[in-house]
């Protein structure tokens, strides 16, 4: 969206001099008229005229012919801009909207290099499905121009006997980072021919490489470039990203080189309207709204009836099926006619998916209901209306899906229907998140110690390190020494040689920091079948003895947990309840990096020592959700050092603001819930990447996670009224990985924004006493409390915000560049 200039309009603005109403405009008008109250925001993106550029003069005539065969006589300006950068050997990131022809930005220079000089290229996509689509497109271009270019996928599905052909004959090899990490780099000598001619590395969907995954991938790229140097090549990286706030910065961190940014799209687009839609409240007391599903189905029905091609995105496969059924009931009642509604999701056979894609391109389908499987890359032609059943988690992802609707010279409509999830509710109440520049910064921390150590191991296996050599920008001498002491390396004559009998890449997953996954073993009938694998971090919460572990809704009970052996033995059971762990997290501040204290409120960030303990569990009956029993859990504490941001109020402030400690605690718990939601969004992370905890700032007591039960230093439950002499409840948001993954420092810079947005969110929530969308679930009894948990949370946030507001005011007076710009500060 960076190049578009969205304009916010009043929900009922009738534009003067607007062009004659199109079908989309008529639908928008109708939705406004009938459901105006559900539309919490409306934005329009004006139509954008095309900006073209001539084909490059040095373009191979066969390629020009291939383009002509597809009706391309000129390029969009950004495609030409990308060509010029790439041909000049400059690393490039292309960050233009969906459907602006990004893939041609890299395919063109790559194909040129292949036909010119049999150069090779490596394409990396985050998923296998995207790889296959890309190969299909390359084959199409190849055939159109009779180029003789060989493009192959290389991933876990590539049969063993085909792999050699891919390695030795492929001009373009399309793979994914996991395969590069585990299958290609540790065997690079088999790929020697390929590497010796490698000129381009293409990385699409760059914005997905953030957080832990991105930090790992940055190191895989360090290893790739190291291997390339061994073969005497220095390939040019061509990358594509969705429109996030910092594509150039992300690309430079991933590549550790200067990267040119191409973000002015020359592709035309029709005008676009986006409606933010909140389902109506059906129970005001509990803050319960009508389901997003019912709203999405209704909007899609109206759109299809208006003759508009429509796509509905749902978050889960099951939801795709449900919505498809409802729409088919409306439109496909006559079995003799070809279906007007189709579903598209992972798990379908490739042939079926290709068939749906083809029908969509040909215009034979009126409505498709899809998961994110259709979000990226796949060519389905252009549609008129895009309905999002639920917020996809990031603004960038939202725009990417909305980009599915919109053809040249025709207006398009997107509707984001909020679910009851806190993030959804926050987003539809804060339409300005969709305005102007993206608020989302993709961040990575390639030098995170554990991740770096993992990849130093892998790199040492691939080629011996020389003294003084770095891995990318990271100095690794100490890590090499550490690995030598561990018996994995041997230092000799200025080189560090791998000597262990292991294949380190197999032990390193790019998607986690954990080393010791647990396997779930089904011991039913004396068997030993492994039926699931659980991350180390999730094991204590899900695999304690007595836990009901669900697979495809089938219940298994954990009988024995072998913590050291990383195994849980389960047996199929017929329980009518599920279990919910009672856990709490104690944090102790080890080092404070920065802090501020104003108006009775303090914020700081630093390193913390964290102990997580699972104390027991509750048995909860299905459907009624009543608590039918407790069990004890005896597991070792899980400890880690990580980084955190924390907020607290001075004891005097709390004493005047709250009649009791219990009520203040309710307020802090509710505030923590809201702040966690907001912080997740602002740092573009998954909810599990950030942990939250409410406890004493001196670690004297802590609350159970999500509950107001207070536990003392030894884990005993205690009354908050007597928990400690001075009452200093603190909200901690911590980076949920050992060593941290670099979320805390940016979060500290966003501290005022986190509080202000949380306050806005809780205040604006339609519920009476608090609900899962704002401060988290509350008990029925709390609805009648003198001051509701919601009011308590508002009081806490107001006091935290007062300090923030004062700070912002002072800064503005001082004329400093500040957090006024939505609190976002670039590093």
């Amino acid at each position: 969206m960076s190049s578009a200039e969205p304009v916010i309009l009043d929900a009922h603005d009738e534009r003067a001099g607007a062009p004659p109403a199109s079908a989309v405009d008529r639908l928008v008008a109708r939705l406004r008229r009938r459901h105006g109250a559900r539309i919490t925001g409306e934005l329009t993106v004006p139509a954008r005229p095309p900006e073209t550029a001539a084909l490059p003069p040095d373009l191979d005539p066969r390629l020009a012919a291939a383009l002509a065969a597809r009706g391309v006589e000129r390029l969009w300006s950004h495609q030409r801009e990308a060509w010029d950068h790439v041909r000049a050997g400059r690393h490039t990131v292309i960050a233009t909207p969906t459907a602006s022809g990004k893939s041609l930005c890299y395919n063109l220079p790559v194909l040129q290099a292949v036909v010119e000089s049999r150069a090779k290229a490596l394409y990396l996509f985050p998923t296998k499905a995207l790889s296959q689509d890309q190969v299909a497109e390359l084959i199409e271009l190849d055939q159109a121009g009779n180029l003789g270019v060989r493009a192959f996928t290389f991933d876990g599905d590539t049969p063993g006997d085909a792999r050699k052909a891919v390695r030795t004959r492929g001009d373009i090899v399309v793979s994914n980072p996991d395969m590069l990490h585990q299958g290609i780099l540790p065997h690079h000598t088999k790929w020697a021919q390929f590497f010796e001619s490698l000129r381009y590395v293409v990385i699409d969907e760059l914005h997905t490489y953030r957080g832990v995954f991105g930090s790992h991938v940055a190191n895989v790229l360090r290893r790739l470039r190291r291997v390339c140097r061994f073969y005497g090549v220095d390939p040019v990286f061509v990358t594509c990203s969705a429109t996030i706030a910092n594509p150039g910065e992300l690309a430079e961190r991933l590549l550790e080189s200067e990267v040119r940014v191409v973000d002015r799209s020359g592709a035309p687009s029709g005008g676009r309207t986006l409606l933010l839609w909140n389902p109506p409240v059906v129970n005001r007391e509990l803050g319960i709204r009508a389901s997003a599903r019912s709203q999405s189905t209704r909007i899609a029905r109206l759109a299809v009836k208006s003759g508009l091609k429509t796509i509905v995105f749902a978050q889960t496969r099951i939801m795709v099926e449900v919505i498809t059924k409802y729409l088919k009931d409306a439109f496909d009642s006559d079995p003799r006619r070809p279906p007007r509604v189709r579903a598209y999701r992972g798990g379908y056979l490739p042939t079926e998916r290709r068939d749906t894609e083809q029908r969509l391109r040909a215009g034979g389908v009126d409505c498709v209901v899809a998961t994110s499987a259709l979000e990226l890359g796949v060519d389905i032609g252009a549609l008129d209306v895009c309905v999002l059943n639920g917020f996809p988690g990031t603004v960038a992802g939202t725009w990417q899906r909305l980009g599915r609707a919109g053809r040249r010279n025709r207006p398009a409509l997107g509707v984001l229907v909020a679910s009851s999830q806190p993030l959804d509710q926050f987003i539809v109440r804060n339409p300005d998140f969709f305005l102007g520049a993206s608020p989302e910064h993709a961040r990575i921390d390639p030098d995170q110690l554990l991740i770096l150590l993992d990849h130093v191991r892998c790199a040492a296996f691939e080629l011996p390190f020389r003294d003084g050599e770095r891995l990318g920008r990271a100095a690794v001498h100490e890590l090499l020494t550490y690995l030598t002491e561990e018996g994995l390396l041997h230092h000799e004559a200025g080189q560090w040689h791998w000597t262990a009998d292991s294949y380190p890449a197999n032990a390193v997953s790019l998607r986690s920091v954990a080393e010791g996954n647990f396997v779930v073993v089904d011991a039913t009938d004396g068997g030993k079948r492994v039926i699931a694998e659980v991350d180390y971090s999730g094991a204590a919460m899900t695999l304690y003895e007595g836990a009901i572990y669900l697979i495809q809704a089938r219940p298994y009970q954990v009988e024995h947990l072998d913590w050291e052996g990383r195994k849980a033995y389960v047996r199929e059971t017929a329980a009518d309840y599920y279990t919910d762990a009672i856990d709490y997290t104690r944090l102790k501040v080890l080092d404070q990096f920065a802090a501020e204290h104003r108006a009775g409120a303090g914020t700081a960030h630093g390193e913390v020592h964290l102990v997580r303990r699972v104390a027991g569990y509750k048995k909860i009956r299905y459907y009624t959700h009543e608590n039918v029993g407790y069990g004890n859990v005896n597991l070792p504490d899980q400890e880690m050092h990580t980084t955190a941001v924390w907020w607290r109020l001075d004891p005097e402030v709390i004493e005047t603001a709250f009649p009791s400690r219990a009520e203040a605690l309710d307020g802090f718990l509710g505030a923590a819930h809201a702040m966690h939601t907001v912080a997740t969004l602002l740092t573009m992370s998954e909810p599990r990447d950030l942990g939250r905890s409410v406890g004493d700032s001196d670690a004297a007591w802590f609350t159970e996670n999500g509950r107001a039960t207070v536990r003392g230093a030894a884990g005993e439950t205690i009354d908050p009224a007597v928990a400690s002499a001075v009452f200093r409840p603190t909200v901690y948001l911590y980076d949920n990985y050992p060593g941290g993954i670099g979320l805390a420092a940016p979060l500290y810079r966003l501290r005022h924004r986190v509080v202000a947005a949380s306050l806005e969110m809780v205040r604006a929530c339609g519920c009476a006493s608090g609900c899962p969308a704002c401060i988290g679930p509350i008990l029925a009894s709390e609805e009648t409390a003198r001051r509701t948990p919601k009011q308590a949370a508002v009081v806490v946030l107001e006091h935290l915000d007062a300090a923030a507001a004062r700070e912002a005011g002072e800064a503005a007076r001082a004329g400093a560049a500040t957090v006024a710009d939505r609190g976002v500060i670039d590093e």
Partner: protein, 416 residues
Amino acid sequence: MSALKGRLDALRRASGAVTAAPPVAAATTAPVAESGLSRLRARIGESRVGAASATRHGGDTAALAAAVGGQVVDDGLVLVESRLEAGGRHGRARLRPEACREALDSLAPGATSSGGAVFVDTETTGLAGGTGTVAFLVGLARFEGDTLVVHQLLIGAFAGERRLLEEVAALTGAASAVVTYNGKSFDAPLLATRFRLAGLSDPLAGLTHVDLVHPVRRAWSRRWPDCRLQTAERALLGLERVGDMPGYEVPEAWLAWLRHGDATRLRRVVSHNRLDVLSLAALLAPVEACLRDPVRHGACALAGGTGAMPRDEDALYRYLLDRRADLDDRALHELGRLARRRRDWAVAVPLWQALAERGSAEALERLAKYHEHVAREPSVALGLAERLAAALPRDARHHARVARLLRRRARDADET
């Protein structure tokens, strides 16, 4: 440094690593020696180290040569050379160069006249494969006249690897075939990787590769508990290794030298490798003979197919037919299948009957089909089908056959 180590250990424990016990006692002396070593090496700089390296572990090539009974080839590289004359013993077998050459020509036609074979076996730092595994010992044997000469190249330091590879190339040079045991999947790709990393061309790449594990598996995988080289030696050569080093101890033995200058176990690695290489030469003739006539050698009758034994069906049919008295059930089934395709019922039917008597449902089914469709004896077929349905009650096809035959009997009864 210790701060980083403490931090890393704590972080790794927090992430679920099952952390090893603190480094073993030996390591307390090793790092000291090593750091002294790196200072020394820094002083020596880029110049060839030569005799100056005598003070370092993993670099005292002369000491290593003495320990394993070899000679220094170059800094970091030791050669152990030995011979086995014609008629020399290896297990119960004796070296028969002529039989060896004939077998080679059968398995790799023309190999003897065009340069002969080199027998190769490597000892490595592990089985993981990929670029991080090193072949620290390569044993190669070649015939010089009727004498089998074994060259074992052992590196005492990574610095010796390049020279080792050059020596391997030189010793392989004239050969036109390479004989290994499981070398197609392990030794050859591993050496290819090492040559590639050293920037040298792979001398094995152009050779005919005779990997004995494949015929051995075809012939004996159903008769032996496993098809490891030592199992084959025991069965085919009568060789019982005494005090041999188990394979999993091999990497540690070399690392003990590399890290701590302890060569005590390397002598055993060298002799283990020598036996491996000699066995390759000794196994060539018995394995080839077995492919030619597997039944006579007590192997799986279907094992043929390399060299002497043609793979075509007619030849296999004749071979099995000639030896039908000695075949196991699996081979009998195959003979039955081939006979059926040739409509040679006189062979097939008695064979199926014998198999069915021994409880083979497959043979019973074949017989039932034969009597229903070929011999057209529905009552015999019905009896067989009923036996089959009783034996395999969950297979609907057999019940269908019974029902069909019953219907036909009823119909036939009506017509008469």
